[in-house]
Symmetry: C2
Subunit: 766 residues, 2 copies
């Protein structure tokens, strides 16, 4: 099975060890699950609330599966058939030397298709299994909080760790397996793996984001604002949908998102490593190093996460400190091991520096996110203060701070790339890009801890919701309040890492695109002058500049469509809750509202948008590539990355800062809850919700889907001319599908076909 002829014994053993570590990580996740499931689920009332959440979560997951599977099946075939349009790579022929070209085609085709399905399934597993565990965990945290702070913390964090270890284990497993089977031909199949994971992440992010904010905004608008009842009040028909939404968005969506970055960085790390291997007389170390770094990361996450615990009493205890302790232990183990690896295996320190930059980058991005969204710093304080003159000034302040945060975060990314230039000074573009990929891998070293911290958020939040709805005692509520507040912080921190790693991953993919196209062009003996290697991607070429312009538009279009989808769905929730409020006896708590109705509305609304937006993501690069050529497609990708990064950070941080400005006011500032300042802050928070939890996060996978599609399509685009009959047909079909998809997403269905008057009345709902 293992196919690297020039591997040293150490390398062979090491790779087997990495595979073992992947299984260890998965085993650890199963072990934790067993531990968690043993804990009790509390009172009957708690279980009743929890049952509704579980039902809603299951319904969402099932329906999502039904929507996605057809597209996955179609794409699996497309990926298999893609090898028949372009010949297998030189590496593939070398790897399977002795076999006929036809056989190699079948092998690569099948391999790529299987890798795609694997990427998709792994991502789905991380999302679905993680979310189911979060639902299992939340009621147990609520129950444990009546007994002991330490127990509640442990259950909440360890439930989160299950998702973390799944992300780690499956990500490592997939990459390592493909590498072991395909050897130097790994990139051929890895692209499929990356694409599968990224596409699923896009689905989870878009679907989860729309679901969670439709429920949240809808419930708030009609409950808090119109009817004047508190949040999480049982009379609000959307309250369960809101709790389900936290899991769907923060748990499934975020986990799939980080899994995808984790996966994609290893994909681009291996592609770029392979280029260096070819430049360095077949030295395997350039590809083995990233795998080893990943393996070490998983091990240290296992140790670190296990250490997170607290004592029985809440006093003198702080959940954040415990979680941080675990993080620092993991970080220390990783850094020492990386240094040893660099010194004894790589025989050079550059790779270590690149990985180290990644860890520093993660910390710096955390700090920036904290500065702009944490209640302890100037920006949020200023935004809260602006509430004194009303919601307009509060929103303006938030926009200004959000803009600024996007600037600093982008400059940090620019500095990171510059550092890579300095580290590989004078060694050429390939090394610099490899350095950037290693930085991405370094950033995601502690993915296990990060995902655990992130999932901890919705688990504690839901536990608190169950506590409210089931009327738990004050002591338990205090414990859960503390966990909930800590969860908000950990969630915010992870968000910074998610966006940052998405951009670094996208830049690495962009680098892989360049390397790949160049390689294919060389293989196809395309005239040296016309090769991307010699021309590069020149924005000074008007065609390429057009590519950049169009690419830069895409994140704005995407965000616009998604925000509208949320407001559309939220308006339906508002109608439904209003309708139920009128049911006699409901407001007097004599009759229960029909929670599942609201859950259904959110589920349907979220699924409806998936396919349209995914098609825009998949097909736009093809349209640009066929119409304007492969160089313009490079410009397009650069435009997508740059504009996507700025817009995503702006939306995430502005939203986060409004959220926290509202919280500081609720904690008593400027008159506290119910004051005019509070009302202003609620408006800001509601504006920020779809920005920070739907549109912003959806841009991460969107950027990468486009990069991966371009990578997959590159060989075709290089080989065929835009004037070929097949290409023209493809162009026309893709263009039509993109336009129809945009119209479909814009109008939330095919209502636009029924004439303008209908559309108007339809969209005037909100």
């Amino acid at each position: 099975m293992f196919s690297l002829t020039n591997a040293t014994t150490f390398e062979i053993v090491a790779i087997w060890c990495v595979l073992l570590i992947a299984f260890l990580g998965l085993g650890y996740a199963l072990l934790l699950r067993k531990q968690i499931m043993k804990h009790d689920k509390g009172t009957a009332k708690m279980q009743e609330v929890w049952g509704a959440i579980k039902l809603g979560a299951d319904a969402y997951l099932k329906r999502q599966l039904r929507t996605i599977v057809p597209l996955i099946v179609v794409l699996t075939f497309v990926l298999f058939l893609s090898v028949y349009v372009v010949p297998p790579s030189e590496e593939a022929m070398r790897r399977f030397a002795g076999k006929s070209e036809g056989d190699v085609k079948v092998i690569i085709g099948v391999g790529r298709a299987i890798a795609f399905v694997m990427g998709a399934c792994f991502s789905l597993m991380v999302g679905q299994f993680g979310m189911r565990m979060a639902v299992e965990g939340n009621v147990r945290v609520a129950s444990a909080s009546t007994r002991s702070f330490g127990e509640a913390l442990k259950i909440a964090y360890r439930t989160g760790t299950i998702t973390g270890m799944l992300t780690d284990g499956l990500g490592l497993l997939g990459g390592t397996l493909i590498f072991m089977v395909f050897g130097i031909a790994a990139p051929d199949a890895l692209l499929g793996f990356g694409f599968g994971g990224t596409l699923l992440a896009l689905f989870m992010r878009v679907g989860g984001g729309i679901y969670t904010k439709a429920a949240d905004v809808g419930a708030d608008l009609v409950g808090k604002v119109e009817a004047g009842i508190p949040e999480d009040d049982e009379r609000n028909a959307a309250v369960i949908a809101d709790l389900v939404g936290d899991n769907v968005g923060d748990c499934a969506g975020m986990a799939a998102d980080i899994f995808e970055s984790y996966e994609v960085t290893i994909v681009s790390g291996l592609i770029l490593g392979l280029a260096l291997m070819n430049m360095n007389h077949g030295e395997l170390k350039w590809i083995v190093f990233p795998l080893l770094v990943r393996g070490i990361g998983v091990l240290s996450s296992m140790v670190g996460t296990y250490l997170v615990r607290g004592s029985k009493d809440l006093k003198n205890n702080n959940a954040m400190n415990s979680i941080n302790k675990g993080f620092y232990v993991s970080a220390a183990i990783s850094l020492v091991s990386f240094a040893l690896l660099a010194h004894f295996y790589m025989n050079e320190w550059r790779a270590f520096l690149s990985v180290g930059v990644g860890i520093i980058l993660a910390i710096v991005l955390d700090e920036i996110t904290k500065h702009f969204t944490d209640t302890h710093y100037r920006p949020v304080k200023d935004i809260a203060a602006a509430s004194k003159t009303g919601s307009a000034t509060l929103i303006l302040r938030g926009i200004a701070e959000g803009y600024e945060s996007a600037v600093w975060q982008t400059i940090v990314i620019a500095v990171t790339i510059f550092t890579s230039i300095l580290i590989y000074n004078g060694m050429g573009v390939n090394y610099v890009l490899y350095g950037v990929a290693m930085t991405g891998i370094g950033m995601l070293t502690l993915t296990g801890n990060n995902v655990a911290m992130d999932s901890f958020g919705p688990i504690s939040d839901n536990a608190n919701g169950i506590g409210e709805l089931a009327g738990l005692d004050e002591n338990a509520r205090k414990v859960m309040d503390h966990l909930d507040a800590t969860g908000n912080t950990t969630k915010a921190i992870t968000k910074g890492v998610a966006i940052g790693s998405a951009v670094i991953a996208a830049v690495s993919l962009f680098g892989s695109f360049l390397t790949d196209v160049t390689k294919i062009q060389a293989q196809m003996k395309i005239d040296e002058v016309l090769r991307l290697a010699s021309t590069g991607i020149r924005v000074s070429e008007p065609k390429v500049f057009i590519g950049v312009l169009i690419g830069a538009c895409i994140p704005w279009l995407f965000s616009s469509l998604i925000i509208n989808a949320v407001t559309r769905a939220a308006s339906k929730i508002v109608e439904e809750v209003r309708r139920q409020f009128k049911i006699p006896g409901l407001m007097e708590r004599k009759v229960k509202p029909d929670y599942q109705k609201a859950v259904d509305i959110c589920t349907v609304a979220a699924q409806r948008e998936l396919i349209g937006l995914a098609l825009v993501g998949i097909l736009t690069p093809l349209v640009v590539g066929i119409l304007l050529g492969v160089e313009s497609l490079g410009g397009f990708l650069a435009g997508v990355i740059v504009s996507g990064q700025l817009l995503a950070v702006f939306m995430s941080n502005a939203g986060g800062s409004w959220d926290n400005a509202k919280k500081t006011i609720e904690d008593g500032l400027y008159g506290g809850k119910g004051s005019e300042a509070h009302k202003a802050a609620v408006v800001g928070d509601t504006v920020g919700d779809p920005l920070k939890d739907t549109a912003g996060p959806a841009l991460n996978p969107m950027i990468k889907v486009m990069n991966l599609v371009s990578l997959l399509a590159a060989p075709v685009l290089v080989q065929y001319k835009a004037t070929d009959f097949g290409m023209i047909t493809t162009l026309i079909i893709c263009s039509v599908v993109v336009v129809v998809s945009v119209l479909y997403s814009k109008h939330g269905g095919f209502t636009f076909l029924k004439g303008a008057s209908n559309t108007k009345s339809k969209s005037a709902d909100m």
Copy 2:
């Protein structure tokens, strides 16, 4: 004086004619002024209000002059001395053949310095004179409205036309004069001319934008929202500042902005035309054509604007139709003349097609702007409908629509560039860029009409304000209401053209940058492989990608700083008006408020931000250019253009749509004035105000300042290495100044030096 040895008789006569037309335009402006000044200024009460506006306007203009002049003086010297760092261009040596290199240096240095001063002064004249005329006009419009609709319309439109003809005349005069004196060496001096105009436009836009919105937002917040008194109420101390602000922002700011686009397109048209001339055996037609197109445009504007009139009675009359009639007449004259020119002079139709695309582009951009911001289309209707569920949903809808509008507008720009590629199919980059420049020139053909339409807005608005404050009769108010509403439409239309032309102008400048750097590199005998001509600007080079990232940040940083400046200044206005409300007798209209105090606050606040932001605009390209090299600087410019375009359109259109959503509600929708829907819409309008009238418009000149600085600095950057002592010193000084300027702008002064606690209390004002 005239120095083109190979010009045909027709060309010599034609250029003299163009010069004559420039003077004709200016003469026409003076004639109109004389006509306007003859009309009477109405009652004593009207003149009293008007006097206060005039005083405020004068104060602003004087103070602005004082702030700007020192920087202008310094930059004039820098521009003169710049020729001593780099040798004069080959063309300059050829033009002044027979003179020693030292003499040529002096000639070019002096020429460039004078051109810079000329550009700055012309821009200042357009802004200041135009604004003074607007102030003279508004009271006369108010007075005329008591007598006849036709007279009021004529005065308002013709006062606007004065600014329009100044823009036309001065823009044409400057470009033609420089061309006549310097001949083929014109680009050496033209850059100075362009830079002067652009820099002043930046000042006018930033200063005017901050002034107008600080006054507007401040007056609204404390008047309408807090005290519950109507807009334009005489008890509001900020009411005069608000009226002055309309002139400062919409009149002076917009006129300077369009003047600058007008100027810059001719600068890049001549630079790119020169490149074609050199490629075509010295054919002069490539440079003469744009000048002739401009001349024809001015003539047709004169005819068209003169035709705008209405009858005595308002009934069966429509101001918009009359204005449009004038526009169409101008357009028809232009198109026919361009066709003749193309056929008989250019002997080819490509140039005509490019210019024609420009006119179509202007119309398409108008339509897009209208679609997204006009009350008759779906977006504004949807936004207004969203007010039913509160301000949050209204704002979200506006953000989504604004995002989308940015997408379409950017795609139209992309299509325009693509059209240029098609027109000059297979002829190479130089022709394509020339085509883009001609499109820009085509777009601005009817600048006279456009600026007239734009200035018409604030003139009618102010007339209406004077009418309200002076208590004119109902009939007159109806006339002025009609003119005011028409003015809002014409203002919105011009805004679309202003942004679109800014981007096209920036793309042409970007093209000039490429052409110029290539030429200098050839002249300096830099190794062919290293020349930009062969490498292009490769985003695939990590350094260049960093340039793109940083460039893309700048518009976001700029917008953030400007929005904060507005909110800071508005909070000062709020305090001042509140203070004055407490003066005994003021609320009972027994005591007059001190209007000039509010005017002073706005004036000071607007001036304070000018220098800091201008320095960021001027020095950032230098920092990037020195640190990362001339290719990265190219990437930087591409980043600035692409990201600036998207952000500017988003902010302008979102703001415009909120404004009009409020207006439709005020016209009776969803409960009309005073309803909950109206309150929600007021919040949206207030959020949109600084976006659409300050940050958005300021990005136009900012983008071009950066392009022009890069063009000016290119020879230095190409000649010296980053390791030279002089370059390192410059780099350090520039970096420090940029950082200090950003901090200064961020904190509205040097308060940040006094420690964090001070800053906090300071910025917590708002």
